[in-house]
Amino acid sequence: MWRDAALIAGKDLRIEGRSRVALSQVAPFGIVALVLFAFALGPDRQVMAKGAPGLFWVAVLFCTVLAIQRSVSVESSDGASDGLRLSGIDPAGLYLGKAVAVAAQLIVLEALLAAGVVLLYGARIAVPWMIVVSCVLGTIGLAATGTLYGALSSGLRVRETLLPFLLLPIAVPVLLAGTRIWQAAMAGGTPSSGMAWLRLLLVFDVVYLAAGVVLFGPIQETA
């Protein structure tokens, strides 16, 4: 399972390294979203700094949808998904590999967006490690659910419109937890409430990763 996962993740990241779709399209889209949020909230930097945590996570959610679409479309042409199933790769490994590749791209993206939030909105971060942990846990959760829904919608012609509709409501706990942890990290005072949210993120990750490892094989058969 682990070896298969590493193979698949390596393959997806190599494709990204050569095509640069995430870097040249998804990341600039994230920055555009940040700029649009700034226009929507007006030029008052205090308001922007206050809204920064939520805006950061909303931008991440939108980018997740794009990254998942890309991750699915890589397998959709030339019978690639049939090839993967024929190759005898463990479905759980395939699932983990796809999720890891998406997560790796999202982490890079989040670093960019976080820098954008600090520079553009003037957000001050008092407890940086909480930001890092929340991003890692949140990203795992988004990649885990996103890969599941990506596989469920992979065979559908209406995938582009259906995926965000199915995925974004599921990701509500990630958005709420991520935003609250960022607020706690920016305020700096009370990390105890932040810890509760981190635990919630951890539970979310474990639940959906477990669901994906167990159910990815049967899900592939629905495509």
Binding site: V158, P169, I170, P173, T222
Partner: protein, 283 residues
Amino acid sequence: MTSDLTAAPVIHPPAVSASNTGVTPPPVQSTRSKTTERVIGVLALVGTAATVWLGLWVTPPDEHQGDLVRLVYIHPGVAWVALYLAFGLAAVSSLLYLWPRTRSLFWDRLAAAAVEVGVVFNVCTLVSGSIWGKPTWGVWWAWDARLTLTAVLLVLFLGYLALRRIPAEPEVRARRSAFVALFAAIDVPLVHFSVNWWNTLHQGATVLNPGLTLKIHGSMAWTLLLGFVALTLVFVWMLLVRYRVGVLEDWLDANELDLALAERQSEGGGPFGGPADDRVGAA
């Protein structure tokens, strides 16, 4: 004159005799299930009428809320059906569909019917809640944890229905929908916790102030209970009808083309005949 030919074909299953065309006849409802459906329907109707009568005329107005309190006979009952009964049933039957030993399209149709009826009740919950909220809290919508959870559930329900609308083989659609229902169901406790913390951490006091606790009068308690029973019966009746319609829909999906072909052929009097002369002439 040719409008008769260009109009969409209207399908009347009984018009084509099944014996000589090879079309599978539509599934017929057994007398027992027909009777059950009717009895439950009548009980639901009587129960609802009684609740309305008791709620609007017999029970007294509340000391603090006046006539607004009468919403209590409807709103919690509707919410109970939408949030617990419908969603719970959909989750359980989706799980039973996925479980190999109990896999049957029965569970898939039951889940679909439960979600569809659940959406109706969910919207009714939000609407009746809003109507109650405006005069008591002063706002149509508050970002209270329970309201937020109800809204998220509605969106999850709607996603499930959107997925079901995509044409597919019944087995493929059933599997796909069951997975989506399952993933939504395991999200519910997580959303529940997160919106609870979100709200309580956000604002000190919740909008649902304890002053709203009702002093339940004897007749009020009975009406409240009757409302729950009546709305549950309405749910069961709608579920039965929707399930039956689901069976018919699947039959039509499988036989639509055969039926249309048989109808065309019967018009011309043979497999290669054109439209019958009298139909063209008559128009």
